[in-house]
Assembly symmetry: C2
Homo-oligomer: 424 residues x 2
């Protein structure tokens, strides 16, 4: 272990992204935060932005602030995010939650694809994505079916196996680009190619991939995408989600869910809905401005650092974690819940253990002289270790694995009750 710590320190010393750690608040040597894939920490700059948003924009300028930036905020943030996900301007907008955005786009896609009744997904997708589609097709009563392609190992599905299930009845293929439990990274370009050959559209959930892996929506020809901004984008708890629709498709899509912010002239108060042109039509109600104001600094940090550098360090770090797992954790009954091939892995590593729930409890509980390590637990037996290259050090990873080792070897976890915690 000692050798690994030394190596970790050497890697940190030559880390070109090391400078970014000080751009975040609330990080310390006593707390190893491996949960940035669930809730990214607070960028220091965001504190100032929020003071301004609350005190000046709302407090002093009040209603005038709508004309001084709030009204354009959903589109402006969308264009800011664009380069991080390979989207040209006018194709991304911030709005609502991931699930609501999925609903809007899926409903519009099904209408556009009339006559095709199959919505294809896998068994690795985030459940809320299933729920939105189930609700939609139950309500539509038009005979649509949600078909889930089974993954052979419960953690990954080769793109060609998903592609093979796409047929002429497939209206829509929808997957998580990076899978929430295992971190499996799809070859999205290959899926788009197969879908388009069959006349199907593709809707990708980028919640676990935006800010963690390079994404080229325009280049890959992706039709639609959604994602949250509270994970790797560090936008804050429940931060507004975004959606992407490729330009050439925008005018063909009309969401089932429409509201005044998506209307052509909201302030003409026309009694009939006329969809705005462009990406604006995918807005619905008045956006939650305070939450939305918190989104910019996190994106800005990633733009500054560059996704290529972020990805390089992310791979180095997940490889390092897996190396430590091989050496130290395999003998303790752990199994790897993530792909070994870095080209098919996002930026978290899942470790499976029959006692994962209680090990997680022990990790997050403060004990004198030991670091608190925050992973998250995903039922039934996954410990997810999220790596966020902007602030994570290699030394933290080495210390986290050492702490897990200690908890299992010393049977520390047996102090805790079985149960189920609420952690997003």
């Amino acid at each position: 272990m000692c050798k690994q710590s030394e190596r970790a320190r050497a890697l940190d010393a030559s880390d070109p992204l090391g400078v970014y750690r000080s751009s975040f608040s609330g990080l310390s040597a006593d707390l190893i935060y491996l949960d940035g894939n669930s809730l990214g920490p607070l960028p220091a700059q965001t504190k100032k932005v929020m003071e301004r948003a609350v005190g000046t924009e709302w407090g002093e300028d009040k209603i005038k602030s709508w004309n001084k930036g709030w009204f354009d905020l959903p589109l402006r943030l969308g264009d800011l995010l664009g380069p991080l996900i390979g989207a040209g301007t006018g194709q991304v907008v911030f709005a609502d939650s991931v699930t609501v955005n999925l609903f809007k786009l899926a409903s519009a896609a099904l209408a556009r694809q009339e006559g095709r009744l199959k919505i294809l997904t896998d068994d690795l997708n985030f459940p809320s994505d299933y729920y939105a589609i189930e609700g939609l097709i139950n309500g539509l009563k038009q005979g649509h079916k949600l078909v889930r392609v089974a993954s052979p190992d419960g953690m990954s599905l080769p793109s060609e196996e998903l592609a093979a299930a796409i047929d002429s009845d497939t209206a829509l293929v929808t997957i998580s680009h990076v899978v929430f439990k295992s971190g499996y990274l799809y070859d999205l370009e290959a899926i788009v190619e197969a879908a388009h050959k069959a006349g199907a559209l593709v809707l990708a959930d980028l919640s676990h991939s935006a800010g963690s892996v390079p994404i080229e929506l325009d280049r890959w020809g992706v039709d639609m995408a959604i994602g949250c901004s509270y994970k790797y984008l560090n936008g804050g708890p429940g931060a507004p989600a975004y959606l992407y629709v490729r330009e050439s498709l925008q005018e063909e899509l009309l969401p089932l869910l429409s509201g005044w912010f998506g209307a052509q002239e909201p302030f003409s108060f026309s009694p009939h809905y006329l969809a705005a042109s462009g990406i604006q039509r995918f807005l619905v109600g008045t956006p939650p401005i305070l939450s939305m104001r918190a989104v910019e600094p996190g994106i800005q940090l990633l733009l500054d650092a560059g996704m290529q550098s972020v990805r390089e360090k992310s791979i180095q770090q997940t490889e390092f974690l897996i190396e430590l797992y091989d050496q130290i954790l395999v003998p303790l009954g752990f199994a790897l819940g993530s792909p070994r091939d870095p080209a098919r892995r996002g930026s978290h590593v899942s470790l499976r253990h029959p006692e994962a729930f209680r090990i997680n409890k022990a990790m997050i509980s403060p004990i004198e002289g030991r670091p608190v390590v925050i992973p998250d637990f995903r039922t039934p037996d996954n410990l997810r270790l999220g790596v966020a290259p902007l602030y994570q050090t290699f030394e933290e990873l080495a210390r986290a694995v050492e702490r897990i080792r200690e908890i299992v070897v010393d049977q520390e976890f047996t102090r805790f009750e079985e149960g189920l915690d609420v952690v997003t």
Copy 2:
């Protein structure tokens, strides 16, 4: 006018709610803010809450904050709001935007009312409410029709006229409790009675009535309600909306739009949606916590003051405004765009004038030695003067009318171009 100023000062001196003005930030003698019916000002306490939410809850406690209050926040805020709108516990929840909430409830209501094809509203409703229903029925393709009962005077509709249009084919009646342009206040109880006799459900939009008039949802037997929290509730720009479903109806409604926060056990990550019981099932995605954290102080102020006192002062103030209008503004070409009967009027007064747009421009433009007065303009010719008894003084109202008089008499408004501003 001098006499009216004296009377205004006397009314302020004996105003039992006068003490609340200091609970708000950003109010001053140079700025007469009559737009609290569009964006309520910042409660001083909210600044502290937001510092805590950003710096401590997100910044320091990070993911742990979900278990320390964030997860329960939508329901807790709902129960806090309950007494202001006459709702017992477990019937109100904060979520999404007004339009999205309308969509969820209307979709669930139409499914529950299968076989009935008419959705009844008026021609006074907020356009986004029409848009949501138009989108829904277009998508459902089940033959539903949105029927708008015409108001005889374009600003109010006697409840009995709306009631007369409810028939055995009516699935749902949906109206704004207080109408956005004229401030007309419906007799909601009478509408519920008529609707229930015909087997129809009622969905009321409380955006302009919550915090401005007493509401008794439970006692009146209202089925469903929605509303925003950024107007009289002072919850902040685009603050999360809320929805109400009467307890006995909750298990009969299943929204078309479903997501993990409305599922029975979100963290079991079940692949199939099982709706939570109770009001929680009307949640969808992860809520925007920062915006939601800003909502509590504004509600708390209204609870402290008591809706009865708020309503008494509101009637006094709108009566005072109309008196000034009669004396001073009628000779200048203004017409009253709000009901004269205070029992049928909410907490804003609309003044109509052919030059309303440019008069608004002149009012909001700073001129040395004159107060800036912020109303809002609503197309084509409405100046809305919003009265918010927690911070509005009678003197402000007298000064605002004096300023309007001056702008028209001196033709100040002619300095401005015709146009259309974006103000929510």
